[in-house]
Symmetry: none
Subunit: 143 residues, 4 copies
Amino acid sequence: MSALTLEAARRVVDGALAHARAAGFKPIAVLVLDAGGHPLAFAREDGASPGRWAIAHGKAHGAIMLGTGSRALMARAEAQAYFVAAANGALGGALVPVPGGVLLRAADGEVIGAVGVSGETSDNDEAAALAGAAAAGLRADPG
Amino acid sequence: MSALTLEAARRVVDGALAHARAAGFKPIAVLVLDAGGHPLAFAREDGASPGRWAIAHGKAHGAIMLGTGSRALMARAEAQAYFVAAANGALGGALVPVPGGVLLRAADGEVIGAVGVSGETSDNDEAAALAGAAAAGLRADPG
Amino acid sequence: MSALTLEAARRVVDGALAHARAAGFKPIAVLVLDAGGHPLAFAREDGASPGRWAIAHGKAHGAIMLGTGSRALMARAEAQAYFVAAANGALGGALVPVPGGVLLRAADGEVIGAVGVSGETSDNDEAAALAGAAAAGLRADPG
Amino acid sequence: MSALTLEAARRVVDGALAHARAAGFKPIAVLVLDAGGHPLAFAREDGASPGRWAIAHGKAHGAIMLGTGSRALMARAEAQAYFVAAANGALGGALVPVPGGVLLRAADGEVIGAVGVSGETSDNDEAAALAGAAAAGLRADPG
């Protein structure tokens, strides 16, 4: 089992922020969790609203807990909203089923963490998350 | 009252795991609760995501608390989503209304516990739960 | 990083239960968590009260979260009760600062999980936890 | 109102981490909150236990919410433990009354945020927090 280091987590955060600035996104927040769903690194840009922490957390935490990127959780929510609503309750509210919660995998496919982004459209949040993973040389799984 | 013993609960867990392996399921988690909704036995297979505990718990706990297998709770959710969402809140988030939460009954029909499974499709989760009940010689009620 | 397998976790549970029976303990509950604090394996003996789940969880979860066996948390509680009370709040109630929450370490010292036992005296709970770790060939750190 | 920027918050985090490494501290976690108590920047060093997020958060959040560094909250806890225990409950568990939660002030004294550190002794956590504030050129108030 490979652990995600703080150095790698910060590369993910910085890569996501760089993508957001280059693309002219609205201010975003970026959170990286370890394989147990616990925070490793976080940054919220100036002007991003205070709740961006909680939304980014819900995207990344839901991905870790259910073992799937949050885009797949959106598909599940569209097919079966009551399941995702109940899973949100079962996970203490920390599951947000829209794109932007991306699993980070080791070379062998093992889940070693997740990155959650919030602040822009969900698709753009996901693009920033993927750019962050790429900047750290990590396999990304958006769901 | 017939109580569910730890020995029987572990037979349920092992029977569910054996079914999952024989059927080539993805890694699952299996939880057995007593008639009061309190954990007796649990196992989470290698590779099952961390939140499988919470989902398996929500299936089994919801079944015990409302006295019906979670398949029937899914029917209720499809008919009246707001009721199941509110019941999830009333039960502290521990109600997940998809198949895989199966009541365990004594020979006379009395509810003596429940088993919850999570990790595969809901139908397969339920199949594993039923196999576990069968392995322990218990009547199962999927709802 | 080494992961704790279900097979090893179940050896910990069985070793703890065997110790409790050989020593004539009251009925106990035994929980093994992974390095992220998520349940892997659990058993509650017949006659153990329903809340043994929550106490065993609090011992093991507090140990994982603060990186120290629960015996050391008891020492901290005796020296500075308000810190441990506040940490209990910060961890959602899932920290119980008495012996019986034992860290499990890989050969190189890395924390790979924890075992929590509840049902007997705290010292006996810890003895059962240590016996469980020994049965699985794991390094144990009671704090 | 002067707002704390992400750039300044990250200088606080990096300054605290640099202090911890230079001083040979155990691995720490460092969190910077804004004046509303919402996360701006966070880092958890490799080897710091998962709950360091929650403890660092409780120190910084309690400081912001009650308008005083967490060292003063420790004094209050020693004088009147039941008040601090109740305040912990009133704040959803997010108040940890030991040193290491330091208010950040603008030149005119206005509170613009807080930094919370956890991982070492409380006194050393506070020293790292103060070093972080100094690295960002901010006035620090440990309570």
